[in-house]
């Protein structure tokens, strides 16, 4: 468990670093353009085009999205950790948590 937990903690650290890089890039681009920071996020579908156009809002949005995704990665990593340890009960329990998280997101959309 310990080795895998350490790996999960490294993945989390990397995710946060990526989020920070995108957010800082967005702030720098925003300051360079001389306008205030954007007051809305970019929809998921238009992220790619926004990024290629160096739109500050797209960089800030992607940074926030990566940050929001980290707990999902955290829980998924733990399912893998329990599976490798052959702790079936906890694989199931953690999978329930992940399903509830995802169901919440889907229900919230509706």
């Amino acid at each position: 468990m310990d080795a895998i937990e350490r790996m999960v903690s490294r993945v989390l650290g990397a995710g946060i670093a990526i989020a920070v890089v995108f957010m800082l890039a967005g702030v720098v681009l925003g300051i360079a353009s001389g306008e205030a920071l954007p007051d809305h996020v970019v929809a998921f579908g238009s992220l790619a085009s926004g990024l290629s156009e160096l739109d500050p809002a797209a960089y800030l949005s992607l940074g926030l999205l990566v940050l929001v995704a980290t707990p999902f990665v955290r829980v998924t990593g733990s399912i893998a950790a329990f599976a490798l340890e052959r702790e079936r009960r906890y694989v199931l329990l953690t999978a329930v948590v992940l399903v509830v998280m995802c169901a919440g997101v889907l229900l919230g959309k509706a």
Partner: protein, 270 residues
């Protein structure tokens, strides 16, 4: 620009205390954003939820590396918390919000009093349930413990998840005393595990808020950056400080939460 720097600083402080104690810090960010910076309440809540995730993930990268997070306990109680939160709507119909706020505040003061009465951490007792071990640098020794009173902890987590969803308070302020006082989990493992749970609970709402456009980068980004910096420092303090000092800080923070909650019940706009 001054506004951005102000938010970064406030978020930094919230990040330090939130991650050090496993309570998130959302309850501080919401009133500061809405009262001091005039942020609309929904945007303030969305920002604070992003902050809770930032606190949780950043703190986890420190605590998990130390083996302090009890993943089994965290996932077990997370089921209770989420189910409780889903049932929040039922409670909202049955009980008046103000009554709930006053009860919540009284409970916070009671918990703070209970913790101060004991003056320190639980004596870790080994057991067969979810056993765990971590090295405590402050005590210079390994701490071994098992989890106790699993059923009671589960039921109370249901209740905590239920009310915390209603009041917009991340349940951390109750998860910590439930695990520590009732389930016999040493304080540092409690704080690490609570930090894990608040992020998991917040992630779903954050994704929903993002989809609905309530996450506003001009507030959320400076707040997240400040929180991340603070939550890098907080766990280091928690790991090094003695449990006795952490208990005192926790009591003070619970007291502040209680006062904020009473003010809210009395209709002062926080």
């Amino acid at each position: 620009m001054a506004v951005i720097i102000g938010i970064v600083l406030v978020a930094f402080v919230a990040g330090v205390f939130g991650s050090m104690l496993g309570v998130g810090g959302g309850i501080i960010m919401v009133p500061v954003l809405s009262l001091a910076f005039g942020v609309p309440i929904k945007t303030a809540i969305a920002t604070s939820i992003v902050c809770v995730i930032a606190t949780s993930s950043m703190a986890q990268s420190s605590f998990a590396a130390r083996g302090m997070t009890n993943m089994r306990l965290g996932m077990f109680l997370e089921v209770a918390t989420t189910v409780g939160a889903l049932a929040g709507g039922i409670t909202a119909v049955l009980v008046d919000g103000r009554v709930l706020q006053v009860c919540f505040a009284v409970l916070l003061f009671y918990v703070a009093w209970q913790m101060s009465r004991r003056r320190g951490d639980v004596v870790p007792a080994e057991g067969p349930v979810m056993p765990s071990v971590y090295y405590d640098p402050a005590g210079g020794r390994e701490v071994r413990y098992g989890v106790h009173a699993l059923g009671l902890g589960f039921v109370l987590s249901l209740a905590a998840g239920n009310v915390s969803g209603l009041l917009g308070v991340g349940g951390g302020a109750f998860k910590v005393p439930i695990m520590n006082l009732l389930m016999g989990v040493p304080l540092k493992a409690t704080i690490a595990t609570s930090n894990l749970m608040i992020g998991v609970t917040a992630a779903t709402s954050a994704a929903i808020f993002y989809g609905r456009g309530y996450v506003d980068p001009q507030w959320a980004v400076p707040a997240a950056l400040g929180i991340l910096a603070g939550a890098r420092l907080g766990p280091r303090l928690a790991i090094r400080l003695s449990a006795r000092v952490l208990v005192v800080v926790f009591e003070v923070v619970l007291g502040v939460f209680g006062v904020l909650m009473l003010l809210r019940a009395l209709g002062v706009g926080v």
